[in-house]
Amino acid sequence: MTPLLETRALEAFYGDFQALFGIDFTVGEGETVAIIGSNGAGKSTFLKSITGVLSNKADAIRFKNEPIGSLAANHVVRRGIAMVPEGRRLFPSLSVEENLQMGAMSKRSGHWTLETVYRLFPVLKERRYSPGTALSGGQQQMVAIGRGLMANPDLLLCDEISLGLAPIIIKDIYAAIPSITSEGTTVAVVEQDINQALAVADRVYCFQEGRVSLEGTPDTLTREQISAAYFGL
């Protein structure tokens, strides 16, 4: 499989505090990868590094075989990486539709438009003129995913899209993933719910204290291996 994104010895810092210690990570084109790990393991920091919110050495991150580690976030998205951020981070002053339109500001064309996003999440069309933050948690998450898709990314990074949602809603949200990948977008999800991650992913990475503690396919990893890697037992 051709690697779409590769990180080599990726490190991340918040001031003097080092949050990531040499992450080697690969996502192949069309592959769905899940990143699991406990609170503070560095999962969100990793996504922020890839999207350029945190800066890095150019060569630490390669996307479509080009170094992008030193690009600022507004340039990374133009290369084709979009993020559904932790906590959704909808724009409170914007309506649902305006939030979605913001996702298209990188001006990449492709399958995803307002129309196709509304087809994926019909409830959003009904609420298109409501303030994004007036929606239920699950609907807000749909807005955040739709907003990411509006960039027509080759790689969509989703940070804890199930957090704080009822199981039935999580099911709805994850049901959208196949429609996303079938349009040619590779998906990587950060997920604290191990079962959810194993169900959706072709391959799983487990993070622990800023390092990759385990990597493998769901069918080859045992429960014991995963708990050890997850909890550091």
Partner: protein, 288 residues
């Protein structure tokens, strides 16, 4: 009748104050920057018009064709070159830098144009008026200014809520980091906002220069009026800013009617009263 007249005139002056205030309100709304040099930029625009009028021998209103784009370009460069670097968690640097800018503009104007009081000569419209019966008359110039204020605010309102640029302004103001992951360059967006604000400042400066005398030192007083109008109307609400301007204008007119020396004081008192009753202004922005 004198009282009715005073109030009517006050309402029209309020249009000018609203024009002073919209630029300030816009900048604060988009980037949480309090621009201490705002009043001096208004005066700078008036002097720029003066120079253009003298140089090209054109009507001050025609000079807007030059003054508006020049001020807008200056705003873009100012934001990109200096002010963007002052914005951060600490609110002090932008205050200090714009205060410094205020001093620089005043001194530069003093050096270039002297401390003499100036006026933009606009001919007949300065004194023309429309009688509206019972001894009342509305000056054509105040009417032009008031209508301009409504058009400018309506236009900005349209830009903010109906255009892509406005959507980007609001999103960047909400959450610049997330907007950035969507391809938005905050430095550019803020510079565009400053350009837009200084385009409005240009209009305000020229109209002010036709209506009243000005000299390099009167900027801070314009800032104060603008500030009071913005706060009274409620931060981030442009129509509220118009209302704030009108309240300020009317209060000053009433004060002046009681005693000519009380004009400015009455405006400040109205401001304090509004602040005590409604600390968030009369029409605060509805938060989502």
């Amino acid at each position: 009748m004198d009282w009715v007249n005073a109030i009517v005139q006050g309402i029209f002056v309020g249009g000018l104050y609203a024009l002073f205030a919209t630029g300030l309100s816009l900048i604060f709304g988009v980037m949480r920057l309090v621009n201490i040099a705002h009043g001096d930029l208004i005066i700078l625009a008036a002097f720029l018009s003066l120079a253009v009028v003298d140089g090209l021998n054109i009507h001050p209103l025609v000079s807007l064709v030059i003054v508006v784009p020049v001020m807008a370009a200056f705003g873009y460069a100012l934001q990109r070159g200096i002010l963007n670097f002052t914005l951060g968690k600490d609110i002090l640097p932008p205050l200090l830098v714009t205060f410094g800018l205020s001093v620089i503009i005043q001194n530069a104007l003093l050096e270039t144009f002297s401390a003499d009081s100036q006026r933009l000569q606009a001919g007949a419209i300065e004194t023309a008026s429309i009688p509206i019966g019972q001894g009342l008359a509305i000056g054509v110039l105040p009417l032009i200014i008031f209508v301009t204020a409504i058009v400018v605010i309506g236009g900005l309102q349209f830009v903010f809520y109906q255009t892509t640029l406005g959507r980007v302004f609001r999103a960047t103001s909400d959450d610049a980091v997330t907007a950035r992951t969507m391809g938005i360059d905050k430095s550019h967006v803020f510079a565009l906002a400053m350009a837009l604000a200084l385009a409005v400042v240009a209009i305000a400066g020229v109209l002010m220069g036709i209506r009243t005398n000005f000299d390099p030192a009167v900027g801070p007083a314009r800032l104060l009026f603008a500030f009071e109008a913005v706060i009274m109307g409620g931060l981030g609400n442009l129509w509220g800013t118009l209302a704030g301007g009108i309240i300020l204008g009317v209060a000053q007119a009433i004060g002046a009617q009681i005693n000519p020396g009380w004009q400015i004081l009455a405006g400040h008192i109205a401001f304090l009263i509004v602040l005590v009753i409604r600390p968030n202004g009369l029409f605060p922005r509805i938060q989502g």
